[in-house]
Symmetry: C2
Subunit: 422 residues, 2 copies
């Protein structure tokens, strides 16, 4: 690769709010989105909440001259809602479905039925290997009493793990999507600390768009004003994150968001704002500082984020185990009741009892399903906690040894590997 190598990458991200029968003006918005993407000719367009495969097929057909490569990530019952359109051939693709994603009985929230996931595309651009990830995490319905916090932290952990383990050979890593987390939230910090990804909004010197880079703003006519009440200027939950891994330097030249209406004017494309970033990748004989040595403040931040995440998962785990035990007890009670009723019916003592049989049967089946679900939830949280504990243990070992770079397990791991090679 030439030393003066330079690559410009234009990326588009949007949570499309494409819920059939629910989202307003869906067909019109999809049409206008297609027109806009065709006009702009981004290198990559990464979309979330394209829940209907028909919408994807419509966009695929419409965009095929400009974006010959496309993929729809199928998962769960409804689907992940994730899809991508690329100007460049997709060399490889795969996906990871998050272990935990809400509760099946919270039907009105619907996340459990979606199979939320992270999709991965590997592209080769002028000899550079780009790993592009697109994701959508569990929604936050009540910030004050967020019953999904442990699930979202576990998702952020799995996302960080997936990126780490699948991007070891990548030159550039790009993550776009709706994280449903504010920049300072635990999951956001965990993700950024573990992967070393940079936030385009914080890094760019040329930003145009909504106040504070927010991606849900009250000016948007599709946004419920009540939901945004505590946040006057809106919230920032959609991101373009990136890093260069080896021998490359990446920077965000420009970042633009829509501001409650379509890119140029007119009614908005979605209830979220679109993100449009121009990234520049250059060959760099010096590795990016962020991938290497960390100061004491960063080391301590990593350890404190890991500790806090472990605590949060621990609370979720205790909660899941309590529900599993409770559901197990109800199953036992139901079986007891069933036996008593059967004895009554068989003895002829109370013929009316037969009409009541549905009660213990329903109790056993319902509580049985809840038991199965919450045991699975406990196992999922326990898994994330054990993996996190392992990383924390190794980080502390390195700290005790006074080794440098200290949290070598994730970021530094790659530095270690590279040093071995040289």
């Amino acid at each position: 690769m030439k030393p003066n190598f330079s690559l410009r990458l234009r990326v588009f991200n949007l949570n499309c709010w494409g819920i059939p029968y629910v989202s307003k003006n869906r067909a019109d918005r999809m049409k206008r989105l297609g027109d806009f993407l065709n006009t702009e000719g981004f290198d990559l367009a990464l979309l979330e909440e394209v829940w209907s495969e028909q919408d994807f097929q419509y966009l695929r057909q419409k965009l095929s001259p400009t974006y010959p490569a496309a993929h729809y990530f199928r998962s769960g019952i409804i689907g992940s809602g994730l899809c991508v359109f690329s100007k460049h051939p997709i060399q490889e693709l795969t996906q990871h479905v998050y272990t935990l994603n809400g509760y099946p009985y919270m039907v009105h929230h619907g996340d459990w039925f979606c199979g939320k996931a992270v999709g991965l595309l590997v592209l080769h651009l002028s000899g550079l290997v780009l790993n592009a990830y697109v994701t959508h995490l569990h929604a936050e319905y009540n910030r004050r009493k967020d019953i999904y916090l442990a699930h979202r932290v576990a998702q952020a952990w799995e996302l960080a793990q997936f990126i780490h383990h699948t991007s070891k050979k990548a030159d550039v890593v790009l993550l776009c999507g709706d994280l449903n987390m504010h920049p300072e939230d635990l999951g956001s910090c965990l993700l950024k600390e573990m992967t070393g990804l940079h936030d385009a909004y914080l890094e760019t010197r040329d930003f145009k768009g909504s106040e504070d880079g927010n991606t849900m703003v009250s000016k948007n006519c599709y946004v419920s004003q009540r939901e945004l009440e505590p946040f006057l200027s809106g919230i920032r939950i959609d991101y373009v994150l990136y890093k260069a891994v080896s021998g490359f330097y990446i920077s965000c030249k420009t970042l633009e968001t829509t501001s409650g209406h379509a890119p140029h004017s007119g009614s908005p494309l979605s209830d979220h704002e679109a993100l449009m970033a121009t990234l520049c990748v250059r060959h760099s004989p010096l590795l990016q500082s962020s991938s290497f040595a960390q100061g004491p403040a960063e080391k301590s931040l990593l350890l404190s984020v890991l500790t806090e995440a472990r605590m949060e998962l621990g609370q979720g785990l205790a909660h899941a185990r309590w529900w599993a035990t409770f559901a197990g007890s109800v199953v036992g009670l139901g079986l007891l009741l069933l036996a008593v009723l059967c004895i009554l019916v068989a003895g002829g003592g109370a013929r009316e009892a037969s009409a009541l049989l549905w009660l213990p049967v329903g109790l056993v089946l319902g509580a049985g399903a809840a038991y199965i679900f919450h045991t699975q939830e406990a196992n999922g949280l326990s898994r994330a906690q054990a993996e996190l504990q392992h990383v924390l243990g190794r980080a502390k070992e390195y700290q005790d040894l006074g080794a440098e770079p200290q949290p070598a397990l994730l970021r530094g791991q790659q530095a270690w590997d590279r040093a071995e090679e040289q």
Copy 2:
């Protein structure tokens, strides 16, 4: 790394048959397994079917002086049953739970409740990066009419994808486990063709153990003779597979299996036979031939395996869609019946009808659950089929271009990347 670098790796694998209350002499077998592992001091012991976490904790305590590092892979409801014990520190670990794993209503087969998975450990041995994978795929209950074939092929595909995407920086890849597939089965071929892994039994020149390397033999007193009826000498479904990825050469010096009894004598450790391999890794300036150019026969084998797997997934998909449609129709019927009964009860026309209300309610709930499950199954199969189709499409593109190395997408991909680096 020195040019005369050489590393000897002793590996143990066993499906432990550790089902609480079901597996015979479990406690005694676990004790003897622990004693044996302590005596032998392998580098790595990879175990499957350790369903009880208490058994893992017992082994962990017993083995801690010889194997200071250990991990239990939690997943699903019962767990994945997978665990590892390592003489060397585990640098990193993660896991992937298979999307498809049987049917919840096949309670007597139980696989669905396990959350079958693949676990990954990253070890650093004398500066060499070893990715060790342990897995257990869905059991085969009826070889003539195998209703789980599509699920097992999808699992083999996900396993190959997981290994491919997570091992790009590894020097040596090791996969041990109970694949529940014979060596010539579609899933085995798919896995080996896609990852380039070699079968220790076929590669070693020094094999000791059961006839044909079988890992379930009729001599084993815990094996049901009826199950093995069509296979007089037994079946080979447990494997040690390996490859060296870059600049290293790996070979299997010796492979040993137990033969229906404990390693030295006495009653067997499990209903499966244990595998014990001694692998030798050497520095090699020449890359292993298998990672590079393939002859026309190998190319055509890859394409035919991919095509066959796509067909098998397609059949499974049609089956899943049929069941989803059927269950959906039953839900509709149940709702209709419910409405009719409600009208009858409300009109006072038939008071007895109220006692029958449980029928449509049960129908709607049961068929609703089946609809959800089979829709999820269809999405899972569809996902694997789309990923496979993508690989097949790219393999054909390379073939049409007459490019060399041709199936560059998986094996050659790494060759491509390496060539870029040099």
